[in-house]
Amino acid sequence: MRENKTGLIALELVMIAAALLFLFPIILVFYNSLKSFGEVMRDVMALPHKLTFENYAYVWKYIDYPKLFLNNVIVTAVGLVGIILISSIAAYKLARTKTKLSGLIYFLIIIPMLIPFQSIMVTVLKLARDLHLANSVWGLGIQYWGLGAPMAVFIYHGFVKGVPKELDESATIDGASGFSLFFRIIFPLLKPVTATIAVIDIMWIWNDFLLPLLMVNGSADTKTLTLAAYTFVGQYNTDWQYTMTAVVMAVLPSILVFILLQKHIVKGVTAGAVKG
């Protein structure tokens, strides 16, 4: 099919303009975080006269950014590693075992995908308090294991079915069994789905708000990045130079990672949605 060249170039220009307009709010927030309060109030649209990083120095110290960043890393890492471990082994065993019990367990595991978190959040909080998982970043990370497992098992299960059974059998002959067989032979083959699940879960846990709000909002030591930004913006309200700096500090890690891993992230999210 022959495409109309001029039309295509025009379309391209229109789309680029649309994308720039689409991203303009983020760009605007970025450069306003480099202005003083007076400059923000005078004209939001104007570029900064001279770059000031005082806002960053102030917010960095006030919210203890390194601590928050570490908290986010702990919660996300604990959550992700747990979800991947327990879900991959279970999905593998369930896909390989063709019994009624196995089918029933699989059903019980994936059915909670239909339960909206808001409809159980009150008692999730009560149970977490009873189990001493509330008010701790490690405890928060652990709570994502169960919450993230249904989707992870679902995606792994579909993929394991495509891994030839002969692999297990030849490994058994070579003397490998149980966990060593799984982690040496099968798990490496699951790498593409593991990547998909990792992308989806990292985005979810890193940005999550409601669960951290319920669990770790009590102390400044346990706050996550989004939570701290929320509290900070609530306190500083219309000190836009500070609040927009806090916003930039909260989103910058995600945007940098996205720019670096853009293709993998888009691919992972698509694969997850199309399979899920």
């Binding site: 082994i89 595991i109 239909l114 909206p116 409809s119 009560k126 708000f209 409601l210």
Partner: protein, 295 residues
Amino acid sequence: MPKFGRRTFGKIEFGLFTLPVLIGIVLAFYIPFFMSMYYSLTDWNGISKHTNYIGFDNFKQIFSGDANFASASLLTMKFSLLFILLSNVLALLIAVLLDRNLKTSALLRAAFFIPYILSLIIVGFIWKFIFSQGFQSLAEMTGWGIFDWSWLGTPKMAFISVLLVSVWQSIGFYIVIYIAGLQSVPADLLEAATVDGAGPFRRFRSVTLPLLAPSVTIAVFMSLTNSIKVFDVILSLTGGGPGGSTYSVSFDIYRETFQNNLFGYGTAKALVLFVVVLLITVLQLTYFKRKEVEH
């Protein structure tokens, strides 16, 4: 190895592989779910150890005398319908345009995807700044009335703002789903349609769209489950205001439970939400699955 020993061993191994996930899911979903069923029949206030069994009083209250829940349900329904419609139509349109042979297709797709990687709370703050400060200075620059509207100040505009910001945040996700769907439409089918004299619109309606049905199912399903839970954007963009006009069901449950300390009542509302969401998702999935074509 004796046969009996191996079978027992297999059972133990099955248990070792599946128990961790089962324990996790029982703790994360099933126990809280059954606890919710119990507490929804009580006057639990979240603090005192002592609760009274009050039967179905909470549910009677929800359906007879709770104006907040009724208006929050109405708002959530309106929001969900418009969100599903807007995000899917716009995403499909942009996906079709990006699917042409543009040099910057990949870059543009990434650009539209960026808001989706940001937390919804933060997105709400970004737009609060745009609506209040950015628009003010744009109004001075351009003199256009649209920037002078009170985007967060009246109930109607605040609702539209929440809707537009939500679409802005997640449209990249739906674009990506639709692009993946468009790429799986076989080129020879489209060529055959062209040979038969079908124009671009006819080709889209009669060939592309029916084959896109699986993507539509996924995208509508995702936009439905996400919009029905809307909470974060409202909290940071309007705070539920002005005058409580933008409370969603999730927001109402959150307020009832954690601000009014009516834990029993809150769990009852949450269960109502659960049943409604379950019904709608099952209906939607069966309806759309039936409309998909095999290829």
